[in-house]
Amino acid sequence: MEGYGIVSRNAKGEAVRLIGVNRDITARMQAEEALRTLNTELERRVEERTAEIKAINKELEAFTYTVSHDLRAPLRAMHGMSQALIEDYADVLPPEGVEFAQRIEAAAQRMDRLIQDLLAFSRVGRKDMRPRPVSLHEAVEAVLSTLSPMFEEVGADVAIEGTLPTVIAHPSTLDQVITNLVDNACKFVEKSTAPRVRLSAETRGSRVRLWVADNGIGIEPKHQERIFRIFERLHGIETYPGTGVGLALIKKAMQHMGGDVGVESEPGKGSRFWIDLPAVSDGE
């Protein structure tokens, strides 16, 4: 029950009468009770779900640990033993035997690369990726300087056009994205062509677009979506080596940084990959 009342007074101000209403509020009390129960239940479920997610994360970490250590031990053996075989017994092995051993070694190396790429892929988004203002120019310059031995090896001509602005990103993740893009730009070219890569930026409203343009083999429009999926490859391992993780990692990383990635390309006319990132707004 719930009651409301008004005291009515006489001329001297003495209370003489009480006028009031009493109401049955059972239904409302029940509704309120139900709401409280629901809230408690919701809180409990959120807690439960959080605990579940934490457990899954822990399991994933244990899984990653196993992948990186236990899977690599037999790999180390394959790699080491085949190389020992080539080095120590090359003079008693027929050429075909040496070739087989070399193939085992190359396969072990490829699998190691794959495991490392997968680990990198699984790490994106697991670590604390709090974005902050980053000079895109400095980030690109640092990546190019790290990759310069590779540029020399393949005779690549890589340069920045103009000045690149400041963006909001997670620094080490951004480095990884740029590294993968430039690495791809130098890799997917005709054997007879020296790679030529140009990096430039344009501001589009509140976003900055970084372009990575190459003179490579290009990508047919029908494949342009597929290439961002993990393990997707358009070429045989002997033509263009790779694990099919690089672009998938870029996509995942860009999504985690509130950005995006895409490509404009035609076969034989090179590719122009782009990434979009939030720009630093005025006053920041």
């Binding site: 031990a73 180390r76 080491g80 020992a84 072990a108």
Partner: protein
């Protein structure tokens, strides 16, 4: 000095044993290697317990290479025992493992590891590590004198 300066390698993976032996041979390291295959054996060897009580055949090592993932007592447990030992704690102990987990690295240093090395996949990198260990820990570094006065209680 008649006694040879041996290196104790605590390693359970038979393939890694072969590869480590080969890398030491290729690096022309003169020190003989002694292998033990789990953490308990490592402690028995260092403490001179049977079957390692003969110090002529199983001399105290001048350097220890220690894997972390071992059957029985783990590498970190061996390290904890060793670095708490009043005399043997002086023996330079290098962790050689595939674990790059920061809690393993941190714990190893906390317990007194003298160095932490990652097992590489590429055998050329392993050779490079062994050459570096030889040049620094065996040829450059001045080793401590170790005379165990007593055996630790079981």
């Amino acid at each position: 000095m008649g006694r040879q300066q041996v290196i104790l390698v605590v390693e359970d993976d038979p393939n890694d044993i072969i590869l480590i032996e080969r890398a030491f041979r290729k690096a022309r390291v003169v020190n003989p290697l002694q292998f033990v295959r789990d953490g308990d054996q490592a402690v028995d060897y260092l403490d001179g317990r049977p079957p390692f009580e003969d110090r002529e055949r199983h001399p105290l090592p001048t350097l220890i290479l220690l894997d972390l993932k071992l059957p029985r007592r783990s590498g970190l447990e061996v390290l904890e025992w060793l670095k708490a030992h009043p005399e043997l704690r002086r023996i330079p102990t290098l962790v050689l493992t595939s674990s790059r987990e920061s809690r393993d690295v941190g714990r190893a240093y906390d317990l007194g590891a003298n160095s932490y090395l990652l097992k590489p996949v590429n055998p050329e990198d392993l050779l490079h590590i062994v050459e570096t260990v030889n040049r620094f820990w065996l040829l450059t570094n001045h080793a401590p004198e170790i005379r165990p006065r007593y055996r630790s209680p079981e």
